[in-house]
């Protein structure tokens, strides 16, 4: 690591562009995410050489090649395990994992729930295009039921996983959602995620222009966007709609969409509370077209210590208690006898 005394250089987005040609398809949402990440990194308080981008395999997983920091493009599904190892070796590194929905939720699903529960101090960008891009268009765990793809010509038969519900269920301490085409929102959420101490899980609605072009239209197109999504902000009531005239109200344990006016006022609406995990779960269950889908930080719990910190603290504690280990003593730590 660079000496702590040198002041942090001022970076520009282009300082984070590597010399490799970017090889996604024209119109791929990954470009927008890459641009926003490059723009956001200079706003963070870290040296370029302290970033490590880690990924699995997939279109999204090519990400690290394009960011001029340290990077590791690993194998399908295992990025989070690799990232955990990086953080255990050196917690001072700033680790960001970028993977697709197949990578993180299909083959890598187990590492996802275990990394989240451990609260390893990393940021995860799940570039969810609801499809397998790199292998040319099979359905993914987030594809809608009945999806017709190469591997399911009569429609898929498994119900989609809800990434946010899984993350919340696994006890993740920072759960958010954003979308590729909204760079300011994506940038802000990414920045908060990177600044969060603990695992930040960010689902990004990402357009696969080739194999699943219209998947996110309801959330990305001007005409439908305001009615199909809802921006959640801590402490603010849940309001949405082109005219901000609709809201979410609690009825018993459930949420319902209400029209404002006619006796229904903002005060009747659910106020977003990032700290409440049950609330976040109920939010995660709001799905298009019945509900607007929440964008923003659904849940944040900055209190819980991180796994990497705990591991290092325990080492420090061991040294405090037993002194720094002496190899000589360790080898002799048994009944010994002299042969002469």
């Amino acid at each position: 690591m660079s000496a702590p005394t040198t002041p942090l250089p001022t970076y520009k987005a282009k300082d984070f562009a590597s010399d490799q040609d970017v090889r996604w398809c024209p119109g791929c949402g990954d470009y927008a995410v890459l641009a926003t990440v490059r723009k956001t990194l200079p706003k963070l308080n870290h040296r370029k050489e302290d970033y490590v981008f880690v990924s699995g395999i997939g279109c999204a997983a090519r990400f690290p090649y394009y960011v001029d920091t340290y990077g590791l493009h690993s194998i399908h599904g295992r990025a989070l395990s690799v990232a955990t190892g990086v953080k255990l070796a050196n917690p001072a590194l700033e680790v960001c994992v970028v993977c697709g929905d197949g990578d993180l939720l299909s083959i890598g699903g187990n590492h996802t729930i275990h990394t989240l529960r451990r609260n390893v101090d990393i940021t995860i960008l799940l570039l969810n295009n609801k499809i397998y891009g790199l292998t040319k268009g099979q359905y993914s765990p987030t594809s809608e039921f009945g999806k017709v793809t190469k591997s399911t010509p009569m429609g898929s038969l498994d119900f989609p996983l809800n990434p946010l519900a899984i993350a919340i269920g696994a006890g993740c301490t920072f759960v958010a959602r954003t979308i590729d085409i909204d760079s300011p929102h994506l940038g802000a959420v990414y920045q908060r995620g990177m600044e969060h101490t603990g695992t930040a899980f960010i689902e990004v609605y990402q357009n696969c222009n080739i194999f699943n072009h219209q998947a996110w239209f309801y959330a990305s197109q001007k005409e439908t966007r305001a009615d199909s999504t809802i921006l959640v902000e801590h402490g603010k009531p849940l309001i949405f709609g082109k005219d901000r005239d609709k809201g979410i109200r609690r009825r018993g344990g459930r949420f319902e969409v209400v029209q404002l006016g006619n006796g229904v006022s903002e005060d009747d609406l659910v106020v977003h509370d990032e700290t409440d995990r049950g609330h976040a779960f109920t939010l995660s269950q709001m799905c298009h077209p019945e509900f607007p889908e929440p964008l923003g930080v659904l849940h944040a719990d900055p209190e819980r210590p991180t796994y990497d910190r705990l591991v290092h603290d325990q080492m420090a504690q061991a040294i405090e208690q037993k002194g720094r280990g002496s190899l000589h003593d360790l080898l002799h730590d048994a009944e010994t006898w002299e042969v002469s």
Binding site: M1, S2, S18, Q20, R47, K48, E49, D50, Y51, V52, F53, V54, I57, P64, Y65, D68, T69, Y70, G71, L72, H73, S74, I75, R78, S81, V82, A83, T84, G85, V86, K87, L88, A89, N90, A92, L93, N110, H111, H114, V311, Q314, M315, A318, I319, Q321, K322, R324, G325, L327, H328, L330, L331, H332, A334, E335, T336, W337, E338, V339, S340
Partner: protein, 625 residues
């Protein structure tokens, strides 16, 4: 003579060179502890020794059943020995199940001491004896062994009657009573065990009263031996003439732990050991987890795949990344190991082999993962492979694994097995200063013209550049890389070059590998070539064959990939090469393929080590052919 011996010996004294004694009983009978104590005491008396523990697969099978039997064998000797002994010269059986499961392993004429109180109808039935049969009343047994029936349960209870302890606690002291008898029989002092009991129960567990009843039971057993006049002979085993030095007892598992820590410290690194529990490899993480003050991090991962990948991530960021497992877990790690091969990062993969295939016989030993280690990955994906040959050797080979992994920037697979990992022997504690440092030079911001995949011409290894260094930012990954830059490359010629380079690099390691040593004649009739945990059996068999006048040498590989450079020369110095292995002939295949030598296999796949006498017989039959 120990000061515990209160009277003059009234009995005959016999001097022996080596004795193998087996303790057996129910899992709850404390046989591992008993055997361990006997070993410690013998070690302190200067005997050479080797031990073998035989655990049941069940955690705690119903009491008194055959599958609940736990056994521990130790051979102790006044000469160099290499195995816990084929057959036991003496056995202590705490119950009929132990007796039944182990009696076949006692040599004819051997001493058998049983706790006769446990040979009740109910217990005989539990371990499957036919109704009405009691081996203690069987004449054939009586005529085959020297049987000693001792009412251990009753005697222990009587001797502790006044202790004020409950019946359960008292019964738990029976093993110490039995140990006392054996100490007397083999003329061993009680101090070591008394010290241990006071330390463990008295201090660690803060139960001095438990310590005290155990000590009393131990002494009661000893005095019983001395006074009861049931034993006509008493045996003495003189100290062994080991190489001078300070010794301790070490098990294979302990030696792996100490070796890894030593290697890592010699490299001035931290260790990140990630592992998923699996028998019999779990003891490695158990041991390392206690060494956090040595800069050791341990991570119990959610599965074997996560473990190997976390170790790779740690290696990328500058730790020595290591992972450990047994057979089925090695299968799961194969894709991850392939990643490390492509990334050219150091990685240590401990595999404590067990009997398979599939779940197989998880608590039993085998050495059948060699070909998996060699070839169990897609495409051309070479790793360095080392295999310790004995419990103590686990130390040296662990240091070696660290050294080779960082020198050649590649995974090293370390093939131990259940037999040596659970076994123990005396270990001459090495002089730490005599172990050469492991030098690592990470590129720095001052490094000129840094290229991630530029190679050291001597080792063919790329340099280990770690994150956090300004100016060296770079990306590595699992796609084929361009020589030098490490960028993704689909170029056909580059691919072939890199495939051959990775292979050549691993073969390069032969530069720093010790040549194969031969024991016995350096050329002649027959060479027995072994590898890994069979060293003890093969070496002993070789010695015995030579004493019997056969022209047989032995050699033992600790490096399986690459082989030592002199292997071919050694092999060609003998008319016949036989390769004893606990598998169907894996090293055999490698040797035949590489050298076209018509080596023959001596194979056994029974979840247990070779018996020396069986090996001797099989070699003799080969010589006669």
């Amino acid at each position: 003579m120990s000061k515990n011996s209160v009277t003059e010996d009234p009995v005959e004294q016999a001097d022996l060179e080596a004795v193998a004694i087996r303790f057996c009983g129910d899992s709850g009978d404390g046989m591992q502890l008993t055997g361990g104590q006997f070993t410690s005491t013998s070690a302190l008396m200067g005997n050479d020794f080797a031990t073998f523990a035989d655990f049941p697969a069940e955690i705690r099978a119903p009491k008194g059943t055959i599958y609940g039997v736990s056994g521990f064998q130790v051979q102790f000797a006044s000469t160099d020995i290499y195995t816990p002994g084929d057959r036991a010269n003496a056995m202590v059986a705490m119950n009929p199940a132990g007796f039944r499961a182990n009696i076949a392993d006692v040599e004819p004429g051997g001493i058998v001491i049983v706790n006769e109180d446990e040979f009740t109808k109910a217990n005989l039935k539990k371990c499957g004896y036919e109704e009405g049969y009691n081996p203690l009343e069987d004449e054939r047994i009586d005529s085959k062994f020297r049987m000693f029936r001792v009412a251990m349960s009753r005697l222990t209870r009587e001797s502790l009657a006044e202790s004020g302890m409950g019946a359960k606690d008292i019964d738990r002291c029976r093993n110490m009573f039995a140990l006392g008898i054996v100490y007397w029989l083999f003329d061993r002092p009680l101090e070591t065990t008394i010290r241990y009991l006071q330390e463990y129960y008295g201090k660690q567990k803060a139960k001095p009263e438990i310590a005290s009843v155990n000590v009393r039971a131990l002494k009661a057993g000893y005095y019983f031996g001395e006074n009861a006049e049931v034993f006509p002979v008493r045996y003495r085993i003189a100290p062994a003439k080991l190489k001078p030095g300070l010794y301790r007892r070490i098990s294979g598992h302990e030696a792996i732990v100490l070796g890894l820590v030593t290697g890592v410290q010699k490299a001035q690194k931290q260790l990140m050991y990630a592992s998923y529990p699996i028998t019999p490899a779990s003891d490695v993480i158990h041991g390392l987890a206690r060494l956090k003050h040595f800069g050791v991090k341990t991570m119990q991962a959610e599965d074997e795949i996560a473990a190997v990948c976390a170790a790779i991530g740690a290696a990328f960021a500058g730790d020595i990344g290591a992972t450990g497992t047994s057979g089925p877990g090695l299968a799961l790690k194969s894709e991850g190991i392939g990643l490390a091969v492509m990334l050219e990062l150091p990685l240590i993969v401990i595999n404590v082999q067990r009997a398979g295939p599939s779940t197989g016989l998880p608590t039993k030993t085998e050495q059948a993962d060699l070909l998996q280690a060699m070839f169990g990955r897609p495409s051309e994906c070479p790793c360095i492979i080392v295999a310790p040959r004995s419990p103590a050797d686990c130390f040296e080979m662990a240091v070696e694994a660290v050294r080779l992994a960082v020198r050649y920037m590649c995974p090293v697979i370390y093939l131990a097995d259940g037999y040596i990992a659970n076994g123990a022997e005396p270990w001459r504690i090495p002089d730490l200063d005599a172990i050469p440092p492991i030098t690592i030079e990470h590129p720095t911001s001052a490094t000129k013209d840094f290229l991630p995949y530029a190679r050291d011409p001597e080792t063919l290894a790329r340099r280990w550049s770690i994150p956090g260094v300004a100016g060296l930012e770079h990306r590595i990954g699992s796609l084929e890389k361009e020589e030098g830059t490490g960028n993704v490359s689909y170029d056909p010629e580059n691919h072939e070059k890199m495939v051959r380079m990775r292979a050549a690099k691993v073969q390069k390691a032969a530069d720093v590998i010790a040549p194969l040593e031969v024991r016995g004649p350096s050329s002649g009739e027959m060479l027995l070539l072994g590898w890994g945990g069979t060293y003890g059996s093969i070496t002993t068999a070789g010695d015995r064959l030579r004493s019997a006048g056969h022209d047989v040498a032995t050699a033992h590989l600790r490096h399986l990939n690459p082989f030592p450079r002199n292997l071919e020369e050694v092999l060609r110095s003998y008319r016949m090469v036989a390769i004893p292995e606990l598998n169907l002939g894996q090293l055999l295949k490698l040797v035949r393929a590489q050298f076209l030598i018509d080596a023959v296999g001596i194979n056994q796949v029974q979840g247990r080590a070779f018996r020396v006498d069986e090996l001797v017989t099989r070699v003799e039959s080969l010589i006669k052919r």
